[in-house]
Structures are given as C-alpha cells and as structure tokens.
C-alpha cells in the first residue's frame, strides 16, 4: 500500500561500483523526482520526469543516469561510485496542475554509503 516505494532502503558499496536505486509510485501521478539529501540534511533536486520525459536535469555528474520506463517508475543508475555520492536519495512524485490536492509525496529514502 506504500504510495512511493524505493528499493533498496540501504545500500553499502565500494568506490568504483555501479548501482541502481528503484522507485515506484501507485498514486497515478505524472511527474517523478530524485532528490539528494547530503550529510548536512540539505535537499537538492537532481532530476524530474513528466510522463517519462526528462524535465529537470540539475547540475549532476553524468555518472548519474535516470531512467523512466513508464510514468509510475523512475530509477536512478549511478556509475563509478565515489565517496561523495554517499547520501540519502529520495524519490518523490506529484500530479501537476491538480489543485487543491496538488502536493508532493516522498518515498522513505535510500541511504547510500560508498566505502
């Protein structure tokens, strides 16, 4: 019944590895996001997809590649992991232009630790 679900919840991996984080929403939303929360709790948007189309692509290393197979899924693949990639990654979704129920729903986060 989880509205926005991310897997895995925890991920510990070595530098240089490639890993993926998956996100799925069952809310019927049309837009999905990836946010990164660093060690100081700062939340920064990374990517946004609307109906499988990339809308926002902030300044993120090209080692990060989002993929949206359909509007209910937005996965994040990271190549050649670095120590600085350690953070909590949050997926979120929304249904745009639908006030007053408009709002963002966040997943529970994936804590990535690169060692």
């Amino acid at each position: 019944d989880t509205a926005v679900s991310q897997t895995p919840k925890y991920l510990v991996t070595q530098m240089g590895n490639d890993k993926s984080i998956k996100c799925e929403q069952n809310l019927g939303h049309d837009t999905m996001y990836w946010y990164k929360q660093d060690s100081k709790k700062f939340l920064k948007i990374m990517f946004s997809y609307n109906n499988k189309e990339l809308i926002i692509n902030e300044t993120v290393p090209n080692r990060f590649s989002p993929k949206s197979p359909d509007k209910a899924h937005l996965n994040l693949h990271i190549n050649s992991l670095e120590l600085g990639d350690s953070a909590v990654y949050f997926c979120a979704s929304t249904l745009t232009g639908q006030e007053p129920n408009y709002g963002y729903t966040f997943g529970s986060g994936t804590r990535l630790t690169v060692v």
Partner: protein, 115 residues
C-alpha cells in the same frame, strides 16, 4: 534563481514553549509554499501547504503557517511544542505554481525539544 532561506539552523526549546520557524523565499511569480517535517531516520512528511486563499494555513499536529506576500515569508508556528516534535523542518517553494513542479527546499531547521 529561486531560493529559500530558513533563518535558524538549530532551535532548542523546552516542552510547552511556543515555536516560530522563519522561512523566506525569493521569487517574483506565483508560488506554492510547503512545510515538511523529517523525524530522525525517517522520510519527509507534509505538515501543511499554501496555494491560495486564506494566508493563515493550518496543518497537522497543531502546526500553522502564515503567508505574508509583502515579506516573501511563510513562517511556521506552534503554540506549544512537545518532545515528539523533535525533528528537522524544511520550508519549500514550488516556483512553477503547480503547472510543472519544481520543489526547492530551504536548508532545514533542526528542532530539539527538551522534556
């Protein structure tokens, strides 16, 4: 560029004290405003949101916020905090007015409530 400022990095209060957390944003157009709470080790939860209408918005758990357009502010308040309110609080602004969605967060305010 749009930005959100939260004035207090860490606020420490005793139970039953009143709370006000400051939030200012910089954006000249239509905005939607949000306050999120993140309890230790958990994901983001929506406390309240403002789109239009009454600038005094009531949210969950006894929180409220007031939108003052002339001051570009959206301060969060609670008349009497509880130990269980200990968490990180994030102010956020959607600068596209809901049509596309681009949620920008402040750096967060950590609230510690002493029993």
């Amino acid at each position: 560029a749009q930005s959100v400022s939260q004035h207090n990095h860490h606020v420490i209060l005793s139970e039953a004290a009143s709370l006000e957390l400051g939030c200012n944003y910089s954006y000249g157009g239509t905005v939607n405003l949000f306050w999120y709470v993140q309890y230790p080790g958990q994901h983001l939860q929506l406390l309240l949101k403002y789109f239009s209408g009454d600038p005094l918005v009531k949210g969950i758990k006894g929180f409220e916020a007031e939108f003052i357009k002339s001051k570009f502010s959206f301060n969060l308040r609670k008349p009497s905090v509880q130990w269980s309110d200990t968490a990180e609080y994030f102010c956020a602004v959607d600068s596209y007015g809901g049509s596309q969605g681009n949620l920008i967060f402040g750096k967060g305010t950590k609230l510690s409530v002493k029993p």
